[in-house]
Each structure stands twice: as C-alpha cells, then as structure tokens.
Symmetry: C2
Subunit: 387 residues, 2 copies
C-alpha cells in the first residue's frame, strides 16, 4: 500500500523561554492540518516523537498530552522514543499504521523543549541516548563520543578539521535561507576553526545547538491522498536498523553500520540508488556525523566524506545537496522534532516550496535520522511522483 505526506507544519526553531512544550507541538500540528486542507476530525491516529520530556520537564505520557491539547480526542495517541531519532521513528510508525489498515489519515509529530534547564542538565538528559552504565556514568557525553569518532575518521582516512568545519559553513549558509532556522547567519571557515574547543577535535561550531521546536506531517493512504491532495509527497521507502548502544562495542568507530543497513532497506523498497537522490537531510548533530552519514548513505566512497564536502559536492549547487534546511547544525536540533523536521523539508523541496534554498527539479529526497552515537537509524525516501 502506498502512503503519502499531504500536509506539513513546523514552528520557528530557537530558544523560547516564553513558549511551552504543548504550545509548540500544537502550533506545528495545526499548521500541518491547515497545510493539508483537512479537518482535524479526519485524523484517526497520532504518533509523537519526543526524546526526554521526562528529564527536561518531568512530563511523560506526551501522546495523551499532545492529542488532548490539539483537540483531537479520542483518537489513539502514542509516543515513540529512540533518542534523537524519535521523530523519524514516529514517522515510520505512522507509516506502518496506515499500511496495517487500521487508519487512513495519521498525524506524526515531533517536539522537544530543551532550554528550560541548565546546559549541564541538558547534557545529562542527552547522555541518556548513550549507554548510561557504560558511557554516560563515566563522563562520556555526546561531544566526547563524536570526538572519538572524528579522531578515528581522521586517523583512518586523513579527514581534516577544516573539512569538518566546511560542513558547518555550508549548513549555516543554508540555514540563512531558512526562515525557521535557529541560526540564520552565514559563518566562515575561520569562525569554526577559532571557536572554543568542546571535545578535541570538535569545536563549538562543529556542534548542533540545544533547541526548542516542533514539527508535524499528515500522512494518508493512497486513496485518501489522491482524494484530498493535489501534490502528495510519497513515502517510497522506509528502513530502520540498530547497532550496539555503546560505541566501544562497534566493529568500527568511523562507520555507522545502522545507517548503512537502514538505507539499504529504504533504497531497495523505493527502487532507487544513491545516484537517484536529488537532495538529502542527514543527521549532522556534529559536523563529523554528516561526513560519516554521506559515506554510509553511499553518496561518496567510504573515507571520502571530508574531501567530498570540501569540494562543494554537498552544497546547494553540488551534485547531491545535503541539509538544504540548514540541518541540525544551523536549523537547530530539538531532538524529538528533528526527524519530522527533516520530512517537512523533504516535503517543501519536492513540492517546489523551499524558497531561496529550493533544489531545481527535485523529484527524490532522502532523510536520515540517527539516535545516540548511531545505535538507531531510520531512513526514508520520498518521491514527488510514483509509478
């Protein structure tokens, strides 16, 4: 059965001390409903991705919170969590719910409210995405884990700090073209290189920020999509895979196997290969993560992600534009919302509504959403047309 996105909504991403969790996700949901041109009462099920409202806000049970505040009672509401891949997983569950036949219009949202706590508290909360007993307890927070991966990538493949910095420069430029991005100011290579060291070799501008924000998409079965929508965006492939939670248990520190496996499934399902992808939103929580992502997704050879980026191949004008939205790096990274925000960008690009960052004639897009240091990965492939 075919499934399509028929509506998409997103909030401004940023630091909003005056806005609540429920307010953000409700705004995104209402925008998605309005964008789909449907009535809320037509929605039959709700999924929401959120990583840790418990540790950020002492609030769990956010499926019920969201469906209630959105005025969508009494439909089923389920929260899905897979660390920073929570949004992508919520999208996948919504997709599966339609394929299962129990619903034909489903909303998938993602939300996180991260700035109400101190940076230290946020760091501890985010460390819950790693292995608490084997990593976080010993002080290995996320910048440290990705720094280990970066060092290994540099050692094995000669990747340079400047190549990583180039990811940040590109994504900040793209973010400057996205009115919803947290950071809308281009930066230069020396800004990244001169920014303060967080976890050697990763500097402040190699890291994605702490962000408040929400996003939502409305999914429909083929029949409903054709009936309700002039420009459905088809979910042509959905792949998910897992790897060991703790970094030290992986075969390789410089390769993300879950991404390789998830993308292989998605490519096969969509009947495409990496060369067919017109643009991709990948999980650049740190600059090195984007370099490893483009290798795992097959956009370039293993080990060549740094040079591929340096040559501009992933820029808006390159052979495979990556993170046209600004990515997690510049658009912002409200962790549970990120996977859905990627789907929103794919929807805008495939509809030709991405404004100044529009990729010309984009017909096939990919999203790549990662949990933790790579233990969870979900990849979706979207098409503006299906055979």
């Amino acid at each position: 059965m075919k499934v399509a996105i028929i509506g998409a909504g997103i909030t401004q991403f940023g630091e909003f001390w005056e806005r609540s969790y429920r307010e953000l996700i409700t705004e995104a949901g209402v925008k998605a409903i309005e964008n789909a041109g449907i009535d809320g009462a037509e929605i039959q099920s709700l999924y929401v991705g959120s990583m840790t409202p418990g540790m950020f806000l002492e609030q769990e049970h956010v499926g019920a919170l969201v469906v209630d505040n959105a005025g969508l009672l009494p439909i089923p509401a389920t929260r899905v969590e897979s660390a920073c891949a929570s949004g992508g997983m919520a999208l996948r569950q919504a997709y599966l719910a339609i394929r299962s036949g129990v619903a034909d219009i489903v909303v998938a949202g993602g939300v996180e409210k991260m700035t109400d706590v101190s940076t230290e508290q946020a760091t501890i909360a985010l460390a819950g995405a790693a292995d608490q007993e084997w990593e976080a307890f010993h002080g290995a927070t996320f910048p440290a884990l990705y720094a280990l991966m970066a060092r290994r990538h540099m050692l094995e493949f000669g990747t340079t700090e400047e190549q990583m910095a180039q990811v940040a420069v590109k994504n900040h430029y793209n973010g400057s073209l996205n009115p919803n991005a947290q950071y809308r100011k281009p930066i230069k290579l020396e800004d990244v290189m001169n920014s303060s060291m967080v976890a050697d070799p990763l500097k402040l501008l190699d890291c994605s920020p702490i962000t408040d924000g929400a996003a939502a998409v409305i999914l429909a079965s083929e029949e409903k999509a054709k009936q309700l929508c002039d420009n459905p965006v088809w979910i042509a492939g959905s792949g998910q895979a897992s790897d060991s939670l703790a970094l030290h248990d992986r075969k390789s520190l410089s390769r993300t196997e879950a991404a390789v496996k998830a993308s292989k499934i998605a490519y096969q399902m969509a009947g495409v290969n990496p060369k067919d992808i017109d643009f991709a939103e990948v999980h650049d929580c740190f600059t090195i993560a984007e370099i490893m992502a483009i290798e795992s997704l097959g956009f370039c050879e293993v080990g060549k992600g740094g040079i591929f980026t340096e040559k501009g191949q992933t820029a808006l004008t390159g052979s495979i534009p990556v993170n046209t939205s600004g990515g997690l790096k510049a658009k912002g990274h409200p962790v549970g919302a990120t996977g859905i925000a990627q789907a929103v960008e794919a929807t805008l690009q495939l509809r030709g509504e991405a404004g100044k960052r529009q990729i010309k004639d984009a017909k096939v897009g990919l999203t790549h959403n990662v949990g933790g240091s790579g233990a969870s990965c979900v990849v979706h492939i979207f098409k503006s047309e299906v055979a």
Copy 2:
C-alpha cells in the same frame, strides 16, 4: 491479517536491587524466545514499552539498549511510551507492524526498574504520567488523583471502602497462586481497612506497589504462527483511545471514557461482547481503578462495580474472573512491563498453563491497560481459536 502470540516470558516481579534494567528485559525476552521454540535470528523487529527509564535511571533510547543486550542486532528497535500503558502500546505496535507486512515475527517487551530511587523520586517520576503543569506541579500525585475518582464514585453510586478493599483481597489471593507475583500472601478485608491512609479514601493496601520486572511476547503472522506453533494465542481485537490528560478536563471523574471507546473497538474487531469474555486482566493500579474498569468494559452496569466485586463475580470462581494473575495490586506494577505481563497471563490462561489459578475452558480473554489517570487506554482481546 491474523496475528498470534507464539511465545511468552516473564521475570519474577519484586524489588531487585541486585538486578539491572537490561538484565530483567533480556531474561524476559530469552524466556519468550525459548517458549516460542524459535531462534532469535528469526525475529525481525522489536518494540519495548517503558515509561520513564529517564527519570528512574537517566537512560533513554532503550529500544537500542534492549535489542543490543538481547543479541538481536541489527533489527529495528523502537521504544513506545504511554505512561503505565506503555506495555500495551508496545504490543499494539508490534501487532500493527505485522499487519503492515514489514515483518512476520516481532517481539514486544515491557520493562521498568523502579526501586533504585527513593519513594519520593519514584512518586515524582510517576507523576509524569499526569499533566505536569496542571496536576503534578500542584502536588496532585497519583494516589491523590485516584482518590478523587474514588470519592466521586462513592458519592454517585454508593460504592464503599469495603468494596474497594475487596478488590485487594481478591487480587492478593490470586497473587498467592502466581509464583512470579511480588506479593504471594493472601490478605483479609480488615488488613486493607486498617492499613495506613495514603490519600483518603485510598489506603496503603488499595495501592499497587513499586516494582522491578519485565515481560515479553513473540508475535507472528498467521502463516508463521501455524508453521511454528501448536497452540498460538490469537490477537482477535486491538483497540486504543485517548482522553484528556488532566482529570479536571473530563466530563466525568467516575468513568473512564478512553476504556469504553478502546474496548468497543476491540470487541467489534473480535466479534464478541463482554459476555463472551472468560477472564480479564485489568489495570488495577488502585482498587477503585478495577471497579471503574469492569464497568467501562461492560462486565457489569455502570455504578455497580463495587457490589459486583463484593458478590464475588470477579473472583476465580465468579462469572468473569478478573486479574487471575494477581493484577497490578499483588503481582506488582513495573509500569512499562504491565501491559505485556497482562498478555503473558492471557497466553498462559488460553493455553491452560496457568497452574493453580487456571480458569477452566478459557477460550476468550481480555487485557485492559491504562496510562495515567485514564488518558490512554489500550484493550486487547485474545482467543485460543479463531474461525
């Protein structure tokens, strides 16, 4: 498409300071795999229900944690959260995954490790199932919310404290017949009545305990179930519904609308009505919750749950045995595991493997799993045979 349970596993429930979260869920999963007589490599997807490992253990991303520790990499692993209904929701997602066609053998687990923190910390963590901003922040913890419902039920229908106490007496008796139960000692009516007041009118023995434990079931498509299993337990109906998160927003304090709606869907899907149910596992987080549950599920008239219980209709020898396992009250309530533990009991009963608490000729069973004070509800109906 038909879906069946082909294997079930559960740990001892109790207070296990010497056992870890990952150890508990891995034990349950291995038992389920052994019970199904399959190889772990045949499992294609994993769902795990867990309410708040973040607030209990500073560990999120438990899908990856569990699939990794169980040796099931690299299959997709997704955590589902809906407060105390997390287990039931995980079961439902596993069921939908099979119906969607992306997998034909899926494991659904549930786990919580609650006793590593102080009772105060556990109370705060559990309050995350309520509306943080409108309830928990103001001091309305769960005993208080259910006490409000109990008072209203007493006022409207004349339900007595003794009738509520009778739920505890029955469930502790049933628990005494369940080797995996946290409490395996029968209690008397006066024990409940004389126990210390927690939130008037609910006393200590009206409340379910804080528990460590895990449970798992293996689900299979009809084709795989028939091929692999001599005594599959069929999931004949699955219903889920939502209500307002905060109690004050409900139309009635003495009625749980989400349970009414979820059960209606499940009954319709299974082609049965309340009279056809041979036994039920319901969400007795407090004694009043069981009384409201049996009314919402249609086992007795609205308002008559107290007298129905008093007359012994829900006892092992009654017209509709409820909580043969001992329920949350005596078996224990490791919140994320509870919904799966209910499915394990249904499986044992329908296979005739429930030992001293076996219901004779049980052919149709029901499980009722609730999140928060009733904002989420998921109902499943199981049959030993399907047409």
